[in-house]
């Protein structure tokens, strides 16, 4: 038998992932439109008095942005893992449950109202997106529940229908926007990571870490839940409670990520998939490993996004989609071939 999964063995694997993440983060912090010299940054760190552009760029612009990217990546990948387990579908991702359309609707509504109010996430667009994303997920959950108890299919269908309906409303509202509002929402819809102020970062980080840790505690129960509700119950897991809590945590971290960065697609799909190829399906290692690798993935994508057409910047969602789309199709082809072979 292969080595059984113990806490120590898991810790070792997570440490390896963390080394990968910190390498990616430090390399990416050195890459940018503006060359930053490391000694200059260090001098700035020690001597706060002297004028030092290198230090300012590094600490005020680049590092916060990398942290935002890492948070977004970790959140999206972890909630992807959780939702795939709950829905018992390796091709599920946060956006399938209406999170994207809900967030987009929120963003457009905020832009339309031209609100100047501020919530924790800085701009009203992010705040509205966060609230709408969260609201939509729960609307989908409610509809799914009313339609078919808590069967997986009714939940998926509810997501599809809500997505379609909101898209129609979005089309309607888009026609009412002026060109300035349109540009800012479009940028946001494509997933756009920018540096955030410290308090926003801290609050987002706390919420995301709590969410991911909560999901981690549920991981073994998620393992059992992938065998179906009745099986889970016979093995001593309360399927209703676990589904509900995992769903709540996953929707929370996704909404925070959406509020931070807009819609960054495919991360919740391809990262868990790739990590599963290496680590296998056991969620106790799949979830933490996916969160860390997801963070590294988005940091790398964002670095590409802000340098590839320098001095202009691309939305990071474009890069994740360009990378993620083909990878997703590859995985889809692989998995349907596998299923086809079994039936």
């Amino acid at each position: 038998m292969t080595k059984p999964l113990t806490l120590r063995w898991l810790g070792f694997k997570i440490l390896l992932c963390l080394i990968i993440l910190s390498t990616v983060m430090s390399v990416c912090s050195m890459i940018g439109t503006q060359k930053v010299s490391l000694p200059a940054v260090l001098i700035g760190l020690l001597d706060k008095q002297c004028q030092n552009t290198d230090y300012d760029i590094f600490v005020r612009v680049r590092v916060p942005r990398i942290i935002v990217a890492a948070l977004v990546g970790a959140a999206l990948a972890a909630s992807g893992v959780a939702l795939q387990a709950i829905l018992r579908n390796p091709l599920a991702e946060p956006y399938i449950l209406g999170i994207s359309s809900g967030a987009a609707l929120g963003a457009i509504t905020a832009a339309l109202l031209g609100a100047s109010w501020r919530l924790w996430a800085g701009s009203p667009i992010s705040a509205a997106a966060f609230l709408f994303a969260l609201g939509t997920v729960w609307l989908v959950w409610l509809i799914g529940h009313l339609a078919g108890g808590s069967s997986v299919i009714s939940l998926l269908l509810a997501g599809v229908v809500v997505n379609a309906f909101f898209s129609a409303v979005i089309m309607l509202l888009t026609n009412l926007l002026n060109s300035q509002q349109l540009r800012s929402t479009t940028l946001w819809l494509m997933g756009n990571i920018t540096e955030k102020d410290f308090s926003t970062l801290l609050l987002s980080a706390i919420l995301i870490v709590i969410g991911i840790f909560g999901l981690f505690i549920l991981c073994h129960k998620l393992n059992v839940l992938t065998f179906g509700r009745a099986e889970a119950q016979s093995l001593g897991v309360n399927p209703r409670a676990v589904t509900l809590i995992a769903f709540a945590l996953a929707s929370l971290v996704t909404a925070v990520a959406v509020g931070l960065s807009g819609l960054v697609g495919f991360v919740g799909l391809i990262v868990p998939h790739s990590v599963r190829l290496v680590f296998g399906p056991d969620h106790r290692q799949l979830l933490p490993a996916s969160a860390i690798i997801g963070a590294a993935f988005v940091v790398a994508c964002d670095t590409v996004a802000r340098t590839i057409i320098a001095p202009a910047q691309l939305p990071v969602g474009v890069i994740t989609a360009v990378v993620g789309g083909p990878v997703f199709l590859l995985l889809l082809a692989r998995s349907s071939r596998k299923l086809g072979g079994l039936r």
Binding site: P4, T226, L235, G236, G280, D282
Partner: protein, 284 residues
């Protein structure tokens, strides 16, 4: 002596449907192998789900180990009763070892990592089912029979005094059917487990089980007016007689005996010449 499973005046009906089970009563002692047999729609699986606490009875009570099923927490009940269903391929590529170790779920702590004792139970389950050679293979790569052995190993790792099986051999070939039932009998004899198996296979039921609960679908095809299914319960050789089987399943059969155990062969329209009934071991 306390019965291990006791069912009193059990009734069940789906919310808008006809009643499936009415006034069912039986007691099962510890360490007994019970088969639940009957035609489609008689409520066999429903009964098993009721016994396992997955659905609630409309009225009546089910007592497992002198406690009402509903009064157990999900976790506590999972330490009493293990459940094996028809084998299937899980969505994610879990290996056999991972699946078997899930049997330990009711005993795991907060972070859910297996302890030394858990490991021991898992190894034992592999040894008893003779499946250690599959441990590292994903379930999708095993044959149906091997997969079902793994699910039974998982139930063994769960270390419950009671084991429920819902048509465990439906998709398996003859050899694996007998193999799985041999394994169940072995668990009954060596581990003194109480086994309740729902089966379509009246011959396996006759060969392996001590007691039989034969459920029959209501005679009328209109389930709404029917009074619900009736049943017979008792030692297998008293319940499974040629007349009973023909009556309950509504099909002509050829029956005979091997030692104390009866066997039944259904006869269809095209079976050809009917065997001579009187000479066909119909000596019950």
């Amino acid at each position: 002596m306390n019965a291990c499973i006791e069912v009193k005046d059990l009734c069940f009906a789906y919310r808008y449907g006809a009643s499936i089970l009415t006034n069912l009563n039986f007691r099962l002692d510890k360490g007994v192998f019970l088969s639940i047999a009957g035609p489609n729609g008689a409520g066999k699986t429903t009964l098993l789900n009721l016994l396992a606490g997955l659905i609630r009875p409309s009225s009546g009570s089910i007592i497992i180990d002198s406690k009402l099923v509903q009064s157990y927490s999900i976790r506590r009940l999972a330490a009493k009763v293990a459940f094996v269903r028809q084998e299937f391929v899980p969505v994610f590529d879990f290996t056999a070892a991972q699946v078997v170790s899930m049997g330990r779920t009711p005993y795991l702590g907060a972070l859910a990592f297996e302890s030394e004792a858990d490991r021991k139970a898992i190894t034992e389950a592999f040894e008893m089912t003779d499946t250690a050679q599959f441990a590292d293979r994903p379930l999708a790569q095993l044959s149906g029979g091997e997969r079902q052995q793994i699910f039974i190993a998982r139930a063994l790792a769960q270390q419950t005094p009671i084991l429920f099986l819902d048509e465990p051999t439906s998709f398996l070939d003859m050899k694996h059917r007998v193999g799985i039932y041999d394994l169940l009998k072995q668990m009954q004899l060596e581990k003194q487990k109480t086994i309740v198996a729902v089966t379509h296979d009246i011959n396996l039921c006759s060969q392996y089980s001590d007691m039989t609960l034969l459920l029959s679908a209501p005679a009328s095809c209109c389930r709404k007016t029917a009074a619900g299914a009736s049943y017979t319960f008792g030692p297998t050789d008293e319940i499974l007689t040629a007349e009973q089987v023909e009556k309950v399943f509504g099909v002509e059969t050829f029956s005979g005996k091997i030692g104390q155990r009866s066997f039944f062969l259904p006869l269809g329209k095209f079976t050809g010449e009917r065997p001579d009934k009187t000479s066909a071991g119909e000596n019950l």
